[in-house]
């Protein structure tokens, strides 16, 4: 993975830039010594590292605005950072950049249960939003796997999803408004505690723009009343095709589970060895969860089991207690950890039309043989969002490049069958160069002209999302 050559002029001017930042921020909010900036050298895509010029940790919208004004005037690139859990390198710094971390912006500003919203500072973690409202019987729906650590700012940047988005949608569907600071320091309010825009939907445009249009400091989020209960059923099948057909039949039957998770044999085995969740060792495992009161759950699970029964499952186990539900989810939720114990891995997240599932899984198996690398699949089956985990050995020369090549082939395959490169992790630096397999030049141009409007100097997170060759003329021009 290539990053543009950092600006020598900016690096040479470090002392002056840091001094200007110290003028607008408290002493403890500016980090510039190399031992400490190293803590910000990467995000969840740990294969790539680069310590930034400096790190700032502002505590208010006003401080964010002041920082951006300084950087704008000095022509210094800024890399916004939530909690640094991006799997796509969305918060990867360059040597000439200032990392703007929002971790200290973590207050709840307003909770309104009657009107079903919460307003928070954007550095607050995803799970702590739900924790702030759950005593009143509410929750915040998007639930990425990293929800314990990840920040709302990053969720908005990447339009994060989660296991339950089949019913509740992803971040963009639950985001009502933001306070955002533009690269020139101007503060804009988009949306609010009400539905839809009157004019152009700039809020919808900002969500998922990977920190390239502005730095979101506050967010108004929709909260929902917690369901009365939820219960999963676990089903094992002897082929991925059959499991895929079962998912389609469940959806066609009019049942809308809150989650349908799919795991293949390598993933089942790894999770079982790691957690002892009691999974049947088979070709494909589905976890289907429904919500409601006990009788409602009974009814929906009866329908689901009836449909699954017609597909000859090798095992079907409905949870009988909270403990059993936890055990069923334990393996799935530990999937990344289980794979991590087996070695280094790359986690992809291409989405495919669900009808292409059997073909894509077969093809991934063939590619794994060609590359001589292990792969395990865990999958949000209801919406086609795949998470192939490619195993490699970081200490073996050439293995990372091999794994990346394998990953790129899988993502090209996703696009070929009508899907996309990323369902919820974002493009970042990881999938940047593959964008031209999914988009024609005019499609990319339309997106880049949006960045031209919000950040004419291309200083905010500039080397992400778009292929470097496509964005070069914009990044390199001086204004």
């Amino acid at each position: 993975m290539e990053m543009p050559k950092p600006s020598d002029i900016v690096i040479a001017g470090k002392a002056a830039i840091v001094a200007m930042l110290r003028q607008v921020l408290p002493e403890d909010a500016v980090i510039d010594n190399i031992a400490e900036t190293r803590a910000y050298e990467c995000d969840g895509l740990a294969a790539y590292t680069c310590p930034p010029l400096a790190v700032v940790l502002p505590r208010s919208t006003e401080e964010v605005s002041a920082v951006l004004r300084v950087c704008h005037e000095a022509g210094v690139p800024v890399v916004p950072r939530g909690a640094g859990t991006s799997l796509a390198g969305g918060a990867l710094p360059t040597a000439d950049s200032v990392v703007l971390g929002v971790a200290r912006l973590n207050d709840v500003l307003e909770t309104d249960y009657d009107n079903r919203f919460i307003r928070v500072q954007s550095g607050r973690t995803n799970l702590s939003v739900t924790q702030a409202v759950e005593d009143e019987g509410f929750f915040y729906a998007p639930d990425p796997s990293s929800q314990l650590a990840c920040a709302i700012a990053g969720n908005i940047a990447m339009n994060s999803g989660g296991a339950h988005c089949l019913k509740y949608g992803v971040t963009t569907n639950n985001l009502l408004g933001v306070t955002m600071v533009m690269m020139n320091g101007d503060v804009v309010e988009l949306g609010g505690a009400f539905c839809d825009a009157s004019g152009l939907d700039l809020l919808g445009l900002v969500c998922g723009s990977e920190g390239q249009l502005g730095v979101v400091t506050e967010a108004t989020l929709r909260i929902l009343p917690k369901p009365e209960g939820a219960r999963p059923v676990l089903m094992g099948f002897d082929s991925a095709e059959v499991a895929g057909a079962c998912v389609a039949d469940i959806i066609k039957a009019g049942v809308l589970p809150v989650a349908i998770e799919f795991m293949d044999r390598p993933c089942i085995t790894a999770c079982e060895n790691f957690t002892g969740a009691g999974y049947p060792i088979c070709e494909a495992l589905l976890i289907v969860e429904v919500e409601g009161s006990d009788p409602e759950i009974d009814h929906q699970l009866a329908l689901i089991k009836d449909i699954a029964g017609r597909h000859n499952p090798v095992e079907m186990r409905e949870s009988q207690s909270a403990e059993e539900s936890a055990a069923i989810w334990l393996g799935r939720k530990s999937a990344f950890g289980a794979m991590g114990q087996m070695g280094d891995y790359i986690c992809l997240d291409g989405t495919i039309p669900v009808s292409e599932l059997p073909f894509v899984l077969r093809r991934i198996g063939e590619l794994a043989k060609e590359y001589g690398l292990g792969v395990a699949n865990v999958f949000h089956a209801g919406d086609g969002n795949m998470h192939p985990l490619i195993l490699y050995n970081a200490n073996k020369p050439g293995d990372l490049a091999l794994a990346e090549g394998f990953g790129e082939d899988i993502l090209r395959l996703c696009v070929e069958v009508g899907g996309c490169l990323t369902g919820e992790h974002g493009v970042g630096v990881e999938k940047r160069e593959l964008m031209s397999t999914q988009f024609a030049p005019a499609d990319l141009e339309a997106q880049m002209q949006v960045k031209d409007v919000f950040d004419p100097g291309w200083l905010l997170n500039p080397s992400k999302v778009f292929p470097l060759s496509s964005s070069a003329s914009r990044r390199e021009r001086t204004i």
């Binding site: 249960y113 009657d114 009107n115 019987g137 339009n159 999803g161 949608g169 992803v170 963009t172 569907n173 101007d186 804009v188 609010g192 505690a193 009400f194 539905c195 839809d196 825009a197 009157s198 004019g199 152009l200 939907d201 700039l202 919808g204 445009l205 998922g208 009343p225 009365e228 998912v247 039949d249 959806i251 066609k252 039957a253 809308l256 409601g292 409602e296 009814h299 929906q300 989405t351 039309p353 669900v354 009808s355 919406d383 086609g384 009508g418 899907g419 919820e424 974002g426 999938k431 964008m435 999914q438 024609a440 005019a442 990319l444 339309a446 997106q447 002209q449 949006v450 960045k451 409007v453």
Partner: protein, 389 residues
């Protein structure tokens, strides 16, 4: 603009034709879908119809996805979905009855493209999302004649910027749609409603707020103020499997008991027809006056309505959306003053729509961004110029 040009409707047969027509255009274009939603300022320009960009190109019920030409009549799509027991999650309003008096041509049929251009949503919006939330892909031609694709046909997709959201609700001012991809949902087995007559606005709002704070998945909450001979009526809707609907209706009724006595109506046909009336704002169809739509924080709604004396209000989305019927020419925005949300003049005569900006003026910093985006997507300013001004 000459009358000859006005009459000469451009109707491309393909997306490539559409791109050529826009690229070659010498003056303003008035984009026409079904012509059933004459919202915004009147546009003077050569009509450009998407009628021939019609037809469902992909429908996978098992994947809950549909792809169709932008000119596809909405009823055709709804019939195809009904045959598979599915539907559009956002319950798009049919504007024909409400707009009847002022439509340029009352014979039109709503199209997919028009629905997306207006981000048209119905009573279920506050729980199932707006049109833009179910829109998973778009192909369009920008004002320079470039064909642009964004999103796709899968429901989870964060690849690149979400131009789909920007285009939804842009009323044809940023691009002309050629193809639309949508996420679908299963049609529930049945539905029922809870009804209470004679509540004042504040009590109705409290009842709706209470119901929407329960876990019983109320997905319609509307209150129509009374008129001369009729009492006000407050309604709550439930959908799902029969046993579940019955159970939840009882739970909601019990939760509401301290506020008001709601009656349960289990008849699904009656429920459906009543909610179609709410969806289409039938109460104000054929009634003299302008119609405004206010989007706000639900709890603020009764106070806002009280600022417009003489208006009749239909609260939807539990108070989050208010339809107001007012005397022609009244500037509702002026009466409301500063508030959390925005007000849109949806139905008004041409004079009113000239005198009063139909869309809520944006804050200066936001207006600058919107204007700059318009200049990028439509550099010559030829797509529905002035419609959203």
């Amino acid at each position: 603009m000459s009358d000859v040009l006005e009459r000469d409707v451009l109707a491309p047969q393909t997306e490539a034709d559409l791109a050529q027509i826009v690229a070659d255009a010498q003056g303003p274009l008035r984009i026409v879908g079904g012509g059933t939603r004459p919202v915004g300022r009147a546009v003077h320009g050569q009509p450009l119809s998407t009628a021939n960009l019609s037809g469902i190109t992909l429908y996978e019920p098992g994947a809950l996805t549909l792809v169709a030409g932008a000119g596809t009549p909405l009823p055709d799509v709804q019939a195809a979905l009904a045959a598979e027991g599915q539907r559009l999650p956002f319950e798009p309003m049919d504007h024909r009855a409400l707009m009847g008096g002022v439509a340029d041509d009352g014979t039109g049929v709503p199209t997919l493209g028009g629905m997306v251009a207006g981000n048209v949503s119905g009573p279920r919006r506050f729980i199932s999302g707006a049109c833009r939330d179910s829109l998973i892909g778009l192909r369009f031609v920008d004002g320079a004649g470039n064909v642009v694709s964004n999103g796709g046909r899968v429901m989870k997709n964060v690849t690149g910027y979400d131009l789909v959201k920007l285009m939804a609700g842009s009323w044809g001012t940023l691009g002309v749609f050629s193809q639309v991809s949508l996420k679908l949902l299963p049609e529930p087995e049945t539905c029922a409603m809870l009804v209470c007559e004679g509540l004042d606005d504040e009590t109705a709002l409290r009842a709706m707020t209470c119901a929407l704070g329960t876990p019983f998945e109320v997905n319609g909450a509307a209150h129509l103020q009374g008129a001369d001979s009729s009492a006000s009526v407050t309604r709550l809707r439930l959908e799902g499997f029969a046993g579940s609907v019955t159970y939840r209706a009882g739970c909601v009724q019990a939760a509401l008991a301290p506020i008001a006595d709601f009656e349960i109506v289990e008849d699904p046909d009656k429920t459906r027809s009543v909610w179609e009336e709410v969806r289409d704002v039938k109460a104000f169809a054929g009634k003299t006056g302008d119609v405004w739509q206010i989007s706000t924080v639900p709890g603020d709604a009764p106070g806002l309505v009280a600022r417009v004396p003489g208006a009749r209000a239909l609260y939807d989305w539990g108070g989050g959306r208010v339809w107001l019927l007012v005397t022609e020419g009244v500037d509702v925005r002026h009466r409301l003053g500063a508030f959390r949300g925005h007000a849109t003049l949806v139905r008004g005569g041409k004079d009113t729509r000239t005198a009063i900006a139909p869309f809520q003026p944006e804050a200066p910093a936001v207006a600058m961004l919107s204007e700059a985006l318009r200049r990028r997507f439509d550099p010559r300013g030829i797509l529905n110029p002035g419609l959203m001004a």
